[in-house]
């Protein structure tokens, strides 16, 4: 039996065969109800997933990657100094380097890290405030 993911801008809804999962039946959205009525509603249960924008968690792997200079650089301070690709072809106009995400919070985290390397007294742990980062993720919900 098919699984029918049906995507909506705000929430993800998935109809799964009853036999496959134990799901919570909750107040059903109208579009999902209409779809279920079109299909044989006996065959499906309704599951509404949590909004990915509200249930963020502090996974240590995210924190480790945020601290990693190979991912975030040192806040973009030395972009010029580093090797940039030499375009051998000029067919398509190059786009500027992607701007840092809103509020440049990544720059905020990585900048102290770069100086931490130069100032031995500074604890590394200060460099990334993951709670702050993930807090922003939570706030992004409107």
């Amino acid at each position: 039996m098919p699984i029918l993911p049906c995507r909506n801008a705000a929430l993800s809804v998935l109809m799964v065969p009853k036999s496959l999962t134990i799901t919570m039946v909750m107040d059903m959205r109208n579009d999902a109800r209409a779809l279920l009525e079109k299909l044989s509603r006996q065959d499906f249960r309704y599951k509404q997933f949590e909004d990915p924008y509200t249930d963020m968690e502090l996974w240590p792997v995210f924190e480790a990657l945020l601290k990693d200079e190979r991912i975030t650089g040192n806040g973009g301070n030395n972009v010029e100094a580093k090797r940039l690709p030499e375009p051998r072809r000029a067919a398509v106009e190059r786009r500027p380097a992607p701007s840092k995400p809103a509020g440049s919070f990544l720059g905020q985290y990585s900048a102290p890290q770069a100086s931490a390397a130069n100032e031995p007294g500074r604890p590394q742990g200060d460099a990334v405030d993951l709670r702050n980062f993930l807090g922003k993720l939570g706030q992004a919900k409107s």
Partner: protein, 243 residues
């Protein structure tokens, strides 16, 4: 001529699937597309309905070894003595509308690096797993991921049933900003179609993978035109989500 390099720093992430799907998607929009297979696996052809016994010989300069399937020209770059740029020149014939999509093996960082110098877009395919995210750290020895030019990430095989899938998606959107090109969801129909030697459009015309790749194609088109890339998600996703 436009060049899109598809690569993942971790094998099995779906680079070949994405390369094949993008090729068919752009072809359906009327662009002449050539896919160059730089992997040893030889599985790209399956996405075009070819069977395992049908082999494509490495390109050595003879047209006979580049079959056109479903409007897409398939070229075997792996094992060819030609440098990628030279091979592309061989096929472009000065046609500016030509689109080249290169499927680059995860372990072949040499080809990745060489191609990244001239590709218009380097599309990195990741899965929503800690292993895939971690593999990003070894992508480029010279630059951090955030500093890479003409670089974007697509998160493949997303399954929103799983918490980590949802969190990885949100994390990458925030981390990468404009470099994040959204998701392609997991659909077992991909594998069922391959098992059937059928193309996905025919086997499962309503597959979410087709829908997601259409959205990805739109983003890439906008990017190549130099237009602001408006995805279904990203740093200022909340505003867009209200649609």
């Amino acid at each position: 001529m436009t060049i899109i390099a598809v690569h993942s720093p971790k094998g099995g992430s779906g680079s070949t699937l994405i390369a094949a799907r993008l090729a068919m998607s752009f072809t359906s929009r009327g662009r002449p597309v050539t896919v160059v297979d730089y992997t040893r696996q030889d599985t790209l052809k399956l996405h075009f309905g070819m069977v395992p016994s049908q082999t494509i010989q490495p390109w050595r300069g003879a047209e006979a070894d580049a079959p056109v399937v479903g409007g897409v020209r398939l070229v075997k770059g792996y094992g060819s003595h030609m440098a990628p740029e030279q091979l592309i020149q061989d096929f472009s014939g000065g046609d500016k509308s030509q689109l080249f999509i290169l499927d680059i093996s995860s372990s072949d960082l040499e080809v990745r690096r060489e191609v990244s110098q001239f590709a218009d877009l380097n599309l990195c395919v990741l899965e929503p797993t800690p292993a895939a995210l971690t593999s990003l750290t070894l992508l480029d020895e010279g630059q951090s991921v955030r500093e890479l030019q003409n670089f974007a990430v697509v998160l493949n095989r997303v399954d929103e049933q799983y918490k980590l899938s949802r969190h990885c998606r949100r994390f990458l959107a925030e981390l990468l900003g404009e470099q994040y090109f959204g998701i392609v969801r997991r659909d077992e129909a991909v594998n069922e179609a391959l098992a059937q030697f059928e193309v996905l459009e025919k086997f499962a015309p309503h597959s979410v993978v087709l829908r997601d790749v259409t959205a990805l194609t739109n983003m890439i088109e906008a990017y190549l035109k130099g237009e602001p890339v408006v995805g279904s998600e990203g740093v200022d996703a909340p505003a867009r989500r209200a649609v």
